[in-house]
């Protein structure tokens, strides 16, 4: 493994990220998601240039070095919104616990019913929480990190269409409730949508996203071990 190749793969990644951010800022649309666009560009370049995933691994390790501290930093939005959280503690926690539990159980049962294999079922279980935590949960459950990250991002994209549609259909108008549903269903991407709706929705969504991740990391291993055939 030579240093030049590592540098090239890192430069391709940063280039794809910058390009995708530029496109996303110019044409902000959930389908033009930065992670999806960048990943597609990188895989395309790697396949064309004959670079394998094994050759990418050293660069990957360097680039994801700060993912741990970045995940810990998710405590900051939670702390900034502590007042709105403590003022609505019970509805927030009850909503997240029931919603997340229902989401995970339905996901596991639907995946098994449709005949998906064990690695896929397990990798789907934490799909509604933010990528780094979903990936860690998936690893504990012996799922696959890259599958989980893609399922999480797909959930975020589908969630940004599905959440407002269903909330309006069932006439959920309370801004707190809407924020909780956005953050719990579609993590960071949902929070971006919620922020566009209003500041209460946005901050509630950020809080819900953090709490749902914590709750899922306790609940998912338990539910998977009881529901996996």
């Amino acid at each position: 493994m030579n240093i030049l190749l590592i540098l090239i793969t890192i430069m391709i990644t940063i280039g794809a990220y910058s390009l995708s951010r530029f496109i996303n800022k110019r044409y902000p649309h959930p389908l033009l998601n930065v992670v999806f666009l960048s990943t597609a560009v990188i895989i395309f370049v790697f396949l064309a240039a004959g670079i394998s995933f094994t050759q990418y691994q050293p660069g990957l390790n360097i680039m994801t070095f700060l993912l741990g501290p970045a995940t810990v930093a998710l405590a900051i939005p939670l702390y900034r919104n502590r007042k709105i959280l403590s003022a609505n503690f019970i509805p927030v926690v009850v909503g997240i616990v029931f919603g997340t539990t229902a989401n995970i159980i339905t996901t596991i049962l639907a995946a098994e019913f449709l005949g998906l294999n064990k690695v896929m079922v397990v990798s789907l279980a934490p799909k509604s929480v933010t990528v780094p935590i979903a990936v860690s949960i998936s690893k504990i459950l012996e799922g696959d990190a890259s599958l989980t990250s893609v399922f999480v991002i797909a959930t975020g994209i589908l969630g940004t269409f599905l959440t407002p549609f269903l909330l309006n259909l069932f006439k959920v108008t309370n801004p707190l409730a809407r924020g909780i549903v956005y953050g719990t269903t579609a993590h960071g991407q949902g929070t971006a949508m919620a922020l566009a709706e209003g500041s209460i929705q946005g901050s509630m969504s950020g809080v819900a996203m953090g709490l749902a991740a914590i709750y899922t990391s306790f609940a998912a291993p338990f539910l998977v071990s009881h529901l996996l055939i």
Binding site: L74, S136, I200
Partner: protein, 130 residues
Amino acid sequence: MNRWFRVIPQITLLWVIYKTGNILAEITHLPVPGNVCGMILLFVLLLAGIIPIAWVEEGADLLLRHLAFFFIPIAVGLMQWVGLFQLSGLQLTLVILIGSSVGILVMGSVSKIFSRSGSANGNQSAKGGI
């Protein structure tokens, strides 16, 4: 650059909390990821006033602004699974749609019960999330 003299120690502190979270997860044998332990630990330290938010704020905001960047190399691992999405793409999309819809409907119903009993009050605004 003056800014980096503040940001680098802040990110180092976040890294130390992350490592502590990992050690905590390991010694307590909780089935919870180390990064979640680290996040809870930082939240508790902030609430207790042991770490003032100014010690980590700028570094944390920088990392959170580029959070998506760190996901990309992980998602590139998908190139090992190319055939999978042609084979099971429809089923996977269905599973995600069904799971998310049920979750949304349950949360919507729970929130309606609470807003009827009047415990959810939405008049407290706060600074934006992420």
